[in-house]
Amino acid sequence: MGKNSGAEELRNLKDSKDLLDIKYQQQRDILDTYVKQGTNLAEIEKRTKRIVNLTNARSKMQTDVLKLEQGITKEAAAQEKSISKQLISGGALLAVTEKMKSAIVSISKTQRDTANTMAVTLNKAQSINKAIAKELKDGLVVDTTRAQILDTMNEMDNVLRSSTAYTEKQATALSITANKLNISRSEAAKLTSLMQTVDGASAESAKATLVLAKNLADANDVKFGKAMKDIASSGQAFANFSGQGMKNMIRTAIETRKMGFELNDAMNIANKLLDVEGSIESQMKFNVITGKNANFDKARALVLEGKHAEALAEVTAQVGDVNNLGVIGNKVLAEAVGMDVTKLQTAQAIAAAGNDNVALQEAANEALESGNEQLATALQAKIDGTTADEANENAQTNIQESLAAQLQDQKALKLVMAGMQVIQIALAAAAGAKAIAEIASASALTLGVGALAIVGGITVAASAMKLATSSMKDGVIGSDGGMVVSGPKGSIQLDKDDSIIAGTNLGGSGGGNPVMGAKLDKINDSILAGANLGGAGMGEKLDKIIYLLSQQRVLNVSGTQLSEVMALERIPVGMG
């Protein structure tokens, strides 16, 4: 059908071959007649010789036709593979543009997220992201993320009441320190801000102090996070009360924790002991009721010297065994020392266990006191802030966001998005039409029913994926012995076995048809999902469908008979 010189020539060739067969048979029949009549032996001999020559020539020609058919089959298989590849590569390109689109969406989301988290404009968010991306380089990409740094910056904003009191570099360093010391960003921000305000420390030395404090906590077998929680919650009050610097406060917090107390307890006891009159009175009351001989004078002196942990230890020692004091005994004890009996019991139990590595503690104490930044850096490098999985996740997020940070001009992105949309629609259309377009760039008529079947097939499948596809207005027109299609290009006689798949805008109104584009997109995805790269997956599935179809000749869809065209022996010739 249509203008197809190769197919026409092949058809002519077959006609000529049929004609030859008829003529050959006629010659044989004539020879048989002569033989039966037994007359004119010379004529019989002449015709026999001719038939032999003719048979040889015909055999050679049949061999040539066989070779031709093999050649066509081989070439057709190669062409089919190539077309399938084109369809699949069209789909692969679609997948790539889809990825690019999602990357752009991610860039926009990153910027919006920063803007919302920091309560700043998109432009400011862009500059923050750029600054963070600059900091998160080399080895640091595995230690923290933009989100964690923003969280740290937010906490610093809350503590310092200003966004100008720190830099992105400091926030990044603090975020990493928080990860490594396993303390919350809120605690890290509070602690460093205390060090900066109370001690006048720089951000860098505050960070070093935190690491050295962790070292001291480890030497004392105290959970650093717990001690830091104490400081974060009571540090400011303790600093106001004691007038001590942060290093002393950290030491007190760790030592009190080691004894089973909290920083708050040290402050309560100190408050109690410094109320000299009240303290002496309650001390006497405690001694009278419990029959003990506690004396808090030394503890009071230690508080005045700022040795809070030692004062706690002295009080614990002075009250002695507090296990069987009775209700009134417990009450007067609480009045005398400013804390309940259970804490003293815990402290006494811990003291009894006592397994100290004094040398290690002294070394850690000294390092904290001297603010040994070199040691702090070495210690921090040894601590893993993230698990391997977190490190991998962080690195991937940071690399993606770092690239995103360089491309955060929203105006440019909008243009890229629009361009991407156009490319995607064109690709969606091309994925379906690429093979067709390559065969004939001229008119659709030269494509034949095969091309129509592809587009029709894709459209049928695509519409099946849409909801409420019950309409069968478009469909298949059976051949019923032949059809003629008339149009501006004249009347074209279709092959006698051809059917027509009819539908509105089957091929789309050009590469830019978004509806057709979306449909082709979907069918492409489904083909891709079903096909492995070699196309064997799709082939297997189609073979199954062919088998299923051969079992059911009349098919109903939504109550509408799809017609017996589905029976394989009546598949339109153009498709076969």
Partner: protein, 56 residues
């Protein structure tokens, strides 16, 4: 997605494959080597047919 839709989607794929096969065959028939072969055989056939016509 209900069964009808799956069946119709599969039919779509089936026709798509049929269409690809058909196009592949048409492309193969436009291959110059194949066309050359067809023409040679056609010439031989024509010669044979005409020789047969002259026989009587």
């Amino acid at each position: 997605m209900n069964l009808n839709k799956i069946v119709v989607a599969m039919l779509g794929l089936f026709f798509a494959k049929k269409g690809i096969k058909s196009i592949a065959k048409k492309k193969a028939l436009r291959d110059p080597k194949i066309l050359d072969q067809i023409r040679k055989i056609q010439a031989n056939l024509d010669a044979l047919n005409s020789a047969l016509d002259k026989m009587d």
